[in-house]
Amino acid sequence: MVMFWVTLLAVSILIYLLLDGFDLWIGMLFSVASDESRKRAMMSAVAPIWDGNETWLVVSGVILWGAFPVVYSILMSAFYLPVLLMLAGLILRGVAFEFRNKAERMRWIWNASFAGGSLVAAFVQGLMVGGLVEGLPLSDGRYVGGEFGWFSPFAVLCGIGLCVGYALLGACWLVRKCDHEVRDQAYRLIPYLSAALLVLLIVVLVYALAKNLGVMARWLDRPYLFVFPVAGAFAAIMLAASVHRRQDARPFPMVALIFIAAFGTLAISFWPYMIPFSITIEQAAAPHSSLAFMFWGAGLFVFPLMLLYTVINLTVFRGKIAAPGDHY
C-alpha cells in the first residue's frame, strides 16, 4: 500500500511537471511576444488544457497530505513562504486567462499577471526542489530552520534551471501547436534554451560535487543510476535532430523524455528517503488504515479518472490551433 501511494505520488508530480511546465513557460514567453495576434496564438495553444494540468498539482499535494503527512508537514513548514508565492503566482495566472479577454484599457494588468505569475510559480517550484536536495535542517522529525532556512545559492540555481527547463518544454509545445511566426520564433529559441539548460545542469552538478552534498555519495554507490542521464542525453540528441529537420511533432516528446530522465535522476537517487536524508518513505507514511481508506476512493476511482480525462483532453486538442480569431 505504501509503494502504491509512492508510485502514485511520483507519477502525479511527473505528469504535473510535464503538463504545467509548458503552460507556465508560455506565460513567461508572453512578455516577449510583441503583438496581440501572437499573444492570442500562444493563449490558444494552452487555453483548453491548462485547467486540467493544474489538477495534477492539486492531486500531488493531496496525496502528500493524506498518504505522507510527515513529509507534508515538513515541506509546508519549511517552504511556507515559497509555497505562498507559488500559490499567488498560480492564482494570478489562472485569473488572467479569463479576465484578459474582458479587459480593454486594463489588459496590460492581466498580461503582466499572466507573465509574472507564471515566472514566479516556475521559479519557486525550482527553488523548493533545490532546497530539498540541498538538505533541510531537521530535528526530531520537525523543521527547525526558520522562515528562510531553505534559501541558498543552490536553491536559486535550481529555480533558474527549472525556469529554463519549462521554457524548453513551452517552446517545443508552441512548435507543435502553432504556425508561422510563432512557431519559427520558437524554433529559434530551442537551441539557446537547450544550451542554457545544459550549462545550468553542469553548474548544478559541479556545485553538488564541490559542496559534497549527500546525494553525490549516493551516485557513486549506485552506478546503475547513470542510466537516467544517459537516457536524457539520448533524448537530447533526438531533440537536436528533430529541430534540425523541422519535424513539428517530435521536439515535445523528446524534451518530455529529458524531463523524465532528470526526474528519475533526482527522485530515484534518493530512494528510500523521501526527505534526504532523514525521513524514509516508511517513516513518512500514514497509518495503514488511512492509506487503505484513500485507496478505495482516490486510488481506484479518482486517479484513473484523472488519467483518462488528461488523455482525452490532450487527444481532442492535439492538432495545430486554428487561425487566431477574436476568441481562444
Partner: protein, 253 residues
C-alpha cells in the same frame, strides 16, 4: 436566459434550504455547543423558544433586546413540541465557541436564502404571465441580488467554522493543540495579507466585469450562446463585442 435562471432557482433554492435543515439536524446531534451558539441559547429550555434577533452578551450570558418565538426552538431543533434544548451554560467556558459570529452569520445566511427564495418564486410567477420584462422593480432586484449567494455561502462557512471552536475535531482535538509549532505570527500575518490582497484585487475586477455583463441586460441575442462560446471558459458565453454593442461603446480591437 433570465427565465431559465429564475426557474432553476425556484426549484434549487428550496432544495438547498431543505439540505440546510438536514445539516442543522446533524449539528444539533453531534455538535451541541455549536447549535446552542447558533441559536443564541444560554440556558436549557423546555420547550425551547427560537430567538429571531438579539444581541448576545457573553459577559452576562444572556441576550439583550431579544425577539423570540416560543416553542419554535423545539420544533426546529428536534421536530417536537416540548423537547429540551441545551444551552451554552451546559458547557464549561473553555469549550464554548464565540457566540456573536455564528449567531449573526446564521441569520444573515438564512436571510439571504429566504430573499433568494422570494425573488425566485416571484420572478417565476411573473414570468409565467409574461409580466416579468415589464416589471422594473423585480428586474432591478434580481440584478442587485447577484452578491446574495456569495454572502450566503461565506456566512454559512463562518457559522460552521467559528461555531466549531475551540475544537478542530469536535470533542477530540483542540485548535490550540493542532497548531503547527513552526508557524510564527510574522509568517502567518504575511500569508494572510498576501492572500487578502490578491483576492481583493481579483474580486474587485471580477465584480466589475460581472457588473458590465449584467448591465447589458437580458438581450434577445443572448438566448443562444454565440458560436464563440467555449465550455471551459464560462465568461465566453457573452462575447465581448455583443456586450459592447449593447452598451454602445466603441471597441478598440
Amino acid at each position: 436566459m433570465l427565465r431559465m435562471g429564475l426557474y432553476l432557482a425556484a426549484v434549487l433554492v428550496p432544495a438547498q434550504i431543505y439540505f440546510g435543515h438536514l445539516n442543522g439536524d446533524y449539528v444539533h446531534q453531534y455538535q451541541p455547543a455549536k447549535f446552542a451558539a447558533i441559536e443564541g441559547r444560554w440556558h436549557d429550555e423546555q420547550p425551547a423558544s427560537e430567538v429571531l434577533l438579539a444581541l448576545p452578551d457573553e459577559a452576562t450570558e444572556s441576550n439583550r433586546y431579544s425577539i423570540s418565538i416560543p416553542v419554535l426552538g423545539s420544533l426546529i431543533g428536534s421536530m417536537s413540541l416540548n423537547s429540551k434544548e441545551f444551552g451554552l451554560t451546559d458547557f464549561p467556558p473553555q469549550d464554548r465557541p464565540p457566540v456573536l459570529i455564528p449567531f449573526f452569520g446564521f441569520r444573515i445566511m438564512v436571510g439571504c436564502g429566504l430573499a433568494m427564495l422570494a425573488l425566485a418564486w416571484v420572478g417565476t410567477y411573473l414570468s409565467r404571465g409574461g409580466r416579468l420584462e415589464r416589471n422594473r422593480l423585480v428586474l432591478w432586484l434580481t440584478f442587485l441580488s447577484f452578491p446574495l449567494p456569495f454572502i450566503a455561502t461565506l456566512t454559512g462557512w463562518f457559522t460552521a467554522e467559528v461555531g466549531r471552536q475551540p475544537w478542530t475535531v469536535y470533542g477530540v482535538l483542540r485548535t490550540a493543540d493542532a497548531m503547527t509549532p513552526f508557524l510564527t505570527t510574522r509568517a502567518a500575518t504575511i500569508s494572510l495579507i498576501v492572500f487578502c490582497a490578491i483576492y481583493s484585487f481579483i474580486f474587485a475586477f471580477g465584480i466589475f466585469y460581472i457588473y458590465r455583463l449584467l448591465r447589458a441586460g437580458p438581450v434577445g441575442r443572448l438566448v443562444l450562446p454565440p458560436s464563440a462560446a467555449i465550455p471551459t471558459r464560462p465568461l465566453s458565453v457573452v462575447h465581448a463585442t455583443s456586450v459592447a454593442d449593447a452598451l454602445q461603446i466603441p471597441t478598440r480591437e
